[in-house]
Symmetry: C2
Subunit: 106 residues, 2 copies
């Protein structure tokens, strides 16, 4: 999969879809953390929040990895999660779409 | 200062005053962090929050150090900050009070 080439048009599609999913998940993550923060009652809750922030930030960074060598897997995962519709990716090559759909169906 | 002995009555006074100041500052800290958390708009804000949590937690732990070898300095600092009134410590030995007031006036 690392040998795929991306045309300028494909890169544009990928960037748009990627950014949109990343921003949406960023906002969901922030809302979840705000809710947990607002409920803190003591230092133990603060330690718990710290752990959750660290974990969720790491997962977020790992998940939204915009390297062309990773994008097919990233989009496959996002389609599987329902965060990206396969339709939003139309314009990518047939072969890329095939791989993405395959990963999405795992 | 590490050679002070603490009578049971003094330990009780120290514990009560210490806990009360620690809880008050814990709640202030949590309120500040809740306000900062509620204002988060993006991941950069989350990183900033993470740093503030880490720093303020470390400072809090260093400050509220309930070892008898540290208590005079701890109370001196708390009186200086206005977090503890010198009156709340009445019942401690004159010598301890003298040291606490000296540190408070630094």
């Amino acid at each position: 999969m690392q040998d795929f080439t991306w045309s300028p048009k494909e890169k544009q599609i990928a960037r748009t879809v990627f950014e949109s999913a990343a921003v949406a998940e960023e906002q969901e993550l922030l809302e979840r953390l705000k809710t947990q923060a607002a409920a803190m009652k003591n230092m133990e809750d603060l330690w718990a929040l710290q752990n959750v922030i660290r974990d969720s930030e790491r997962k977020y960074q790992e998940k939204y990895d915009y390297r062309y060598s990773q994008l097919i897997a990233v989009f496959g995962g996002l389609v599987r999660e329902g965060r990206v519709s396969i339709g939003a990716l139309h314009g990518l090559s047939e072969e890329k779409m095939k791989y993405i759909e395959r990963i999405a169906s795992l």
